[in-house]
């Protein structure tokens, strides 16, 4: 960010562009916090926006790892699951834990898992790494099913969202849950935006584009990869919390299966690797096209992804 600021100082300030950006940001805020809560139908919020926000956030997280740092992961939904079940348990077992802290702790649990399952990336590359991330996918699903503790020994193995409140203000209504989601997503996306434009973000790209050169010029390659796994999993974990708490409200481990991982992967492919904005517009368009899409939505996104490649 500071570099950008310096860049800007050197170049003549492009006022028109600045005003445009400011206007866009203002418009975004007005729509997100004004228009949508006031006018959006229940269907739009519950069936479109809430899953859209959660999956977009997951896509932002995966994009950091795959798009920016070049590490292909097929196990994203495992980290969503860790986040969701983590948040459920923190909330359940620690009396009076604020929601924000719960979410951050859940993100940290997911980050921890991410680091563990990112360790193979230190030695493996490409498909060998991609396939090894499937181990995370299957292991997490197995563990969540196997050990009843994770779901508070619920006989059906499911977890339910707790009462959501921030500073005593209940967020259980559709609008409340939307506001929680949109705020979380905006804050995290802004942080990711800053990250990818910082020296750390450039290290990610360096490792992706030429690992050998990056190592030789002194990029801490191993640390950078693990950091990418950690931050990416943190974000995906919080996306999992949103998925479970604000969208579905009651989830089972099977909800975080391989198909979900592929879905997130499709979002970032179609949206463009290493493009944060892409994560959002694809999710939106795939949702709006769904009602008209005869076959599986997956085939639909798959077709789009192939088209996106060929162009």
């Amino acid at each position: 960010m500071a570099v950008q600021a310096l860049d800007a100082a050197r170049l003549p300030v492009d006022w028109a562009k600045l005003v445009q950006k400011l206007a866009l940001a203002t418009a975004l805020f007005v729509v997100a916090y004004g228009v949508v809560p006031a006018y959006a139908s229940g269907y739009l919020v519950e069936a479109i926006l809430l899953p859209f926000l959660a999956l977009s956030l997951a896509a932002v997280g995966l994009n950091l790892l795959t798009g920016y740092c070049g590490q292909l992961s097929l196990g994203s939904s495992a980290f969503m699951a860790v986040g969701a079940f983590g948040a459920y348990n923190f909330n359940l077992r620690v009396e009076g834990l604020p929601l924000a802290v719960t979410m951050i702790l859940a993100g940290i649990s997911a980050a921890g898992f991410g680091v563990v399952f990112g360790l193979p990336s230190l030695r493996l590359r490409g498909f060998y790494l991609a396939v090894s991330t499937l181990a995370a996918q299957f292991f997490v699903q197995w563990a969540l099913t196997k050990f009843g503790w994770f779901s508070n020994d619920n006989p059906s193995g499911v977890i339910s969202a707790p009462h959501l409140a921030v500073a005593g203000l209940s967020l259980d209504s559709a609008t409340g849950r939307y506001l929680l989601s949109v705020t979380t997503v905006m804050v995290l996306t802004a942080l990711v935006w800053r990250l990818v434009n910082s020296a750390t973000g450039r290290n990610f790209i360096a490792v992706r584009d030429n690992e050998t050169a990056a190592r030789v010029i002194g990029v801490p390659v191993l640390r950078t990869k693990l950091l990418a796994f950690a931050i990416s999993s943190f974000i995906i974990g919080i996306a999992g919390v949103l998925w479970a708490f604000t969208y579905l409200r009651t989830v089972e481990p099977a909800g975080f299966n391989l198909d979900r991982s592929f879905q997130i992967l499709f979002i970032i492919i179609i949206g463009g690797l290493a493009s944060i904005r892409g994560a959002f517009w694809v999710r939106r368009s795939s949702l709006s096209s769904r009602s008209f899409c005869p076959g599986s939505a997956h085939s639909c996104s798959a077709a789009c992804s192939i088209r996106a490649f060929s162009t």
């Binding site: 269907y43 069936a47 006989p155 059906s156 193995g157 499911v158 009651t250 089972e252 769904r290 076959g295």
Partner: protein
């Protein structure tokens, strides 16, 4: 080719709804979160086909329920939770919703909070969370006929009846082969409880999802020489279990399937290996029952049958759909008796379900004698104490091989209450009383 004809049917159904709405007749609406494409389409087409066939029968034969036409429209979910929720949100604003019937555990879970807020019943016939049986905590969820715990008890009682009484279970060896999912694991403590109570030896073995490899499990089973193997399977796991059993020399007629291992789709792919396999069911299969006959005559005769392939009439999923139709329609009828013959609110239909008592005589009057036994739902018992029966596969079709068997409901109720009360505590839900249940929201 199959797909487009479904699309056409869905379009006709939707047009029908819209047309009916236009004349403002009294009408009760069933939003259907069906799945006719995707990996689980085989079950979806059967169940929703049967359900729609029965609704059609009521409309054509009786002109609706006491003059209230039945309407429905479908939203394709492909058995995916996300799409199920999308369809829910899309269809929930339609007027006169009677009840939701997703036939998907995942979708049902995601709807519990929603339907409770919207005060509309959610029917999870033969599936869903066991503890939703407790109507004190889950006012709007109805796992009708059979919950997983009753199923477990029913299976053990059946084995006992084959052995000559519950006391003969002592010393017998039973293996439960379960799917590696929350669904599969749900009954583990119940089998353990029953094993202690009746003194049979028990081992429970997990098959990881999807279950397309079971060599290790069946070799372990063979080493244990069990008297019976209970198959608590799902999807591809079932035929593979039967095939692998054959491969390891375990006889199919000593394998007993649970309610998600009891359909044609579970046995046909196993071919000859499935001959003799027995499975629990809440509704007998076949088309000899008067109500099924009437559907064949009235609905299919009229060219309005929903099944693509007429040979699937009377199949397990189709008959489950028909029984599900009967239960829904009767709940509406019972509620109408109290609230008037008009379009009811969801909460009124909930009251109807909570008074859904169909004794064998009434079942016979409905043309469903021997198709299913009876049901007795109350405000706090949302399962309704359904009886079960067992069918054996002869290579071509299922044949009923047992009487109607009652599970040990009394034994299971305290366990269910413990679980539902824990849920109520976790979610801060006030436990309902009979008076609460009688308070009904009418528009």
């Amino acid at each position: 080719m199959t797909f487009f004809s479904h699309l056409r049917k869905a379009a006709i159904a939707t047009a029908f709804v819209l047309g009916a709405t236009a004349v403002h007749a009294e009408e009760q609406y069933f939003p259907l979160q069906s799945y006719r494409v995707g990996p689980y389409a085989a079950g979806g087409t059967g169940f929703f086909g049967g359900f729609i066939d029965y609704l059609n029968l009521i409309n054509i034969r009786d002109g609706g329920v006491n003059g209230a036409k039945l309407a429905w429209s479908e939203g394709e979910t492909q058995y995916e939770v996300e799409k199920g929720v999308e369809v829910y949100e899309r269809l929930k604003s339609n007027p006169g919703i009677a009840a939701w019937n997703p036939l998907s555990v995942g979708i049902a879970y995601a709807m519990i909070d929603r339907i409770t807020d919207d005060k509309v019943p959610l029917i999870t016939i033969n599936h869903g969370r066991t503890d939703t049986t407790d109507g004190r905590v889950f006012p709007y969820v109805f796992p009708l006929l059979l919950n997983p715990y009753s199923e477990t008890s029913g299976i053990v009682n059946y084995i006992a009846s084959k052995e000559g009484g519950l006391d003969k279970l002592k010393g017998k060896n039973i293996v439960v082969l379960y799917h590696g999912s929350p669904y599969g694991k749900e009954t583990i403590p119940i089998y353990e409880l029953l094993s202690q109570k009746y003194g049979f030896e028990l081992s429970q073995i997990e098959v990881p999802h999807p279950g397309n490899e079971q060599q290790a499990q069946w070799l372990t089973i063979r080493r244990e020489h069990p008297d019976y193997v209970v198959l608590r399977g799902w999807g591809v796991m079932n035929p593979v279990a039967l095939k692998t059993a054959q491969k390891t020399g375990f006889p199919a007629d000593h394998i007993i399937g649970n309610v998600w291992s009891n359909s044609e789709e579970d046995v046909i792919p196993a071919g000859d290996a499935a001959k003799g396999y027995t499975a629990i069911t809440t509704q007998a299969s076949g088309e000899r029952y008067p109500v099924v006959q009437e559907i064949v005559k009235t609905v299919y005769g009229d060219g309005k049958g929903n099944l693509e392939d007429n040979s699937r009439i009377g199949s397990v999923y189709h008959n489950l759909g028909i029984v599900n139709g009967i239960l829904n329609v009767e709940a509406v009828r019972i509620a109408q008796a109290k609230f008037g013959n008009r379009t009811l609110t969801g909460d009124e239909v909930r009251w109807g379900f909570e008074h859904l008592k169909l004794d064998p005589a009434r079942v016979e009057a409905l043309g469903a004698k021997d198709l299913f036994h009876s049901i007795n739902v109350s405000w706090d018992n949302h399962e309704g104490d359904g009886y079960v029966t067992f069918q054996q596969w002869d290579g071509k079709k299922w044949n009923v091989v047992s009487d109607w068997i009652a599970p040990d409901w009394k034994l299971l109720r305290p366990i269910i209450e413990k679980s539902s009360e824990a849920y109520a505590k976790e979610k801060g839900i006030k436990i309902r009383t009979a008076e609460d249940a009688d308070a009904v929201v009418s528009n």
